[in-house]
Amino acid sequence: MHSTTRDFSLSLYRQTALQETQQAYAELLDARFEHAEHNSHVTFSGDGDDLDFLIDAFCNHALFLSIQQYREDGVT
């Protein structure tokens, strides 16, 4: 099984967006979170050849949701 890690800065990615993305990708990708004060350290693991593709898609989805939530909150 392969594994890769990524750090999501909580000043850029919303915690709720990361959780929603984790739930959305639960059947496709194993993402384990370790929360720190300023970032979320995520370990992705999987067997398939498309692990990198799924991680990239996960990051895009989390960013997309973070931007949406940022705009909904009306922070300018």
Partner: protein
Amino acid sequence: MSPQAEAPEATPVELHFNIEDNQVSFNIHEELFVLDAIYGAAYLFVDRCWLFLTRPADKVVGVHLKPKESTDEAGLEALAGEFANELLNQAIRVRIGESTATLREYTMARAFFTAPVQSSIDALLAELDAEELEEDELEISVPWEETGA
């Protein structure tokens, strides 16, 4: 001496980026471009690229762009340039939004909270009714044959 001669020569401004593993990365300082502008540009690139944002230092956002379709180095450089252009667009959008916020609030407040004004159609109908009443105060219908006689 002309003003052009006094002005210092324009120096080229380069976007410093790093290309590695079919990915282009560069840093943006939040004192130059607010997060709203960075998000705005990123939002428009989500369908074309794989995006990942990092925080390499305080007030600095690291942007990592990976095209969904493989491309050469020139393509990655062009992608970074497009993102930088879009960043500028978004910064202007944010500035205009801030400078016209009061005006928008005033317009919305006026639209919602002022007394409704009678529409022009209603005003015209009322005017026509008034004219008809002037001609025949009792408003008794008369056949056209009799009026023509």
